[in-house]
Symmetry: C2
Amino acid sequence: MKIGVIGGGQLGRMLALAGTPLGMSFAFLDPAADACAQALGEHVRADYNDNEHLRQLADNVDLVTFEFESVPAETVAFLSQFVPVYPSADALRIARDRWFEKSMFKELGIPTPAFADIQSQADLDEAVARIGLPAVMKTRTLGYDGKGQKVLREPADVSGAFAELGGVPCILEGFVPFTGEVSLVAVRARDGETRFYPLVHNTHTNGILQLSVASTDHPLQAQAEDYVARVLEKLDYVGVLAFEFFEVDGGLKANEIAPRVHNSGHWTIEGAECSQFENHLRAIAGLPLGSTAKVGESAMVNFIGEVPSTAKVVALDGCHLHHYGKAFKPGRKVGHATLRCTDRASLEGLIDQVQGLIQS
Amino acid sequence: MKIGVIGGGQLGRMLALAGTPLGMSFAFLDPAADACAQALGEHVRADYNDNEHLRQLADNVDLVTFEFESVPAETVAFLSQFVPVYPSADALRIARDRWFEKSMFKELGIPTPAFADIQSQADLDEAVARIGLPAVMKTRTLGYDGKGQKVLREPADVSGAFAELGGVPCILEGFVPFTGEVSLVAVRARDGETRFYPLVHNTHTNGILQLSVASTDHPLQAQAEDYVARVLEKLDYVGVLAFEFFEVDGGLKANEIAPRVHNSGHWTIEGAECSQFENHLRAIAGLPLGSTAKVGESAMVNFIGEVPSTAKVVALDGCHLHHYGKAFKPGRKVGHATLRCTDRASLEGLIDQVQGLIQS
């Protein structure tokens, strides 16, 4: 089976590493000459709206999936004429737009921070009056890793903020005094079977994920699974989806979903019986889903900007290097380590050791 | 770091799957148009004695390794002029020739079946008189998976046997009434550090490996490690080496070595902390070695001729499919499953289930 992937970054690369042993082959459509997934498959170098190359990809593969959600709706619609596409155009349309996304959460009874649609500075002023400060303003589409957003702390931050974010449609979200950030990675098969990985505790710095630690018997697991199941069913979703939540007052408030394999699920490569990458491929290929159970205690440390010395990383027992083969650049995700230990205390020690390599 | 691999079959493919996350890239020299490793790296399509292409490979990579031992000595010598080659020309020279190999075992005090060098029918007649029947006659070089050998059970089998195996240099080995076949996979770093995986019980059918089961606290582990260490030191070996033994009267007799990653070590992909593939690459790249400890109880079932239905294989919890992407052909190794369970009884049940898929 040949899989077409829109995007050829590290997520595409890790999909191919998981799918090749299943007998799958891969083609990646990505405009970047140095797209790092190309080491593992064909590289169709073209823009995401280049219909000629999209058609060429569609004719050459059995199905198409995505490694990021900011795909133009027209791209998905165009591809869907010629080849099965997972997740569906509808799921992508909603996930790529924070207004549609939050509105869906509300409709499904999933708690969210207060939010408002912002089409102008007047909308913003009115929403701030209603929701209060502090609040976070985010572009409805195309934001990631803390980009395309602005924290509004006091009235002075509000004036001119709409223009500052480019005068594009935005969403205003009330600030949530969260005690933690967690995410749930789930996978849903074509036949509707759904499985969930354990909740993951995430730590961000400057809007970029630094550390994910898989939990054991988290008291909010069942609550999170219920919320995620509502979304998966609503979207008739096929594949892996990640749902990020704020922990507030011992409960969950929805932050956002990512309709794809997700950075907070990278620990599953060595830390779960079947990784998020393999499970995404199994789901879209119509294969039985794999076990989402943990193997030992596991965490993931991101390498941002550069990967520490390979010799030092691999010298740590229980530490598995995942180098993305990308050029090093400040703020860029260029690799991660999956940590797997038999007990929690060892895991915490290992997290410290790996983070020590980053700072040194 | 870019690694050149002589041979582009499944071993090269699995080396690349293990090395890509370490940030390595790969080039495979293989004359076959459909060499299955090419999905994961550059394919230099050329014969093994094509010096022009060997030179092109050498100039394009940081070091060269091998996925099989039947490489012409001239190939290794030629490459060694331009690029570091692991394992060394000397190790390959000995491992590819059963006479050199057995003579080395004898020199190192490692028990072997009785053996004799056969250069003619007269040599054979004399050796049979000395060693007795039954005995096994094998070509000194190029034999594998039961090819290039003949079992001599009675005097009638002896006459004309030399011509029957092609009139090429052979070795005669006394038949060993073994109770089991085990192998030890070891890895030795550039600085001499050596690690051993647990002994593996192997089951062959028609000379082809069918099943490998990793042992726990095998009573012959220390003995096997001692023998393998002697060989590794003698050859100043760098990389992974597999040593196959016969279990006889509660002790070990040397069968043969393979100077490379080995089919009986495939279980390590999911079954050990660091796989034989990653450890081979770590060794030749001068990186610290990884842990050879088991993760749970593990085994490997080979898929010969064809891979059973992917859906049926992946439906079994604890069963990890490794499809080599090769055309199906009777007698050809086209994939394997790594089985990993928490306890031995579950593992045995799972082995039966997987073998059931093959027979059905």
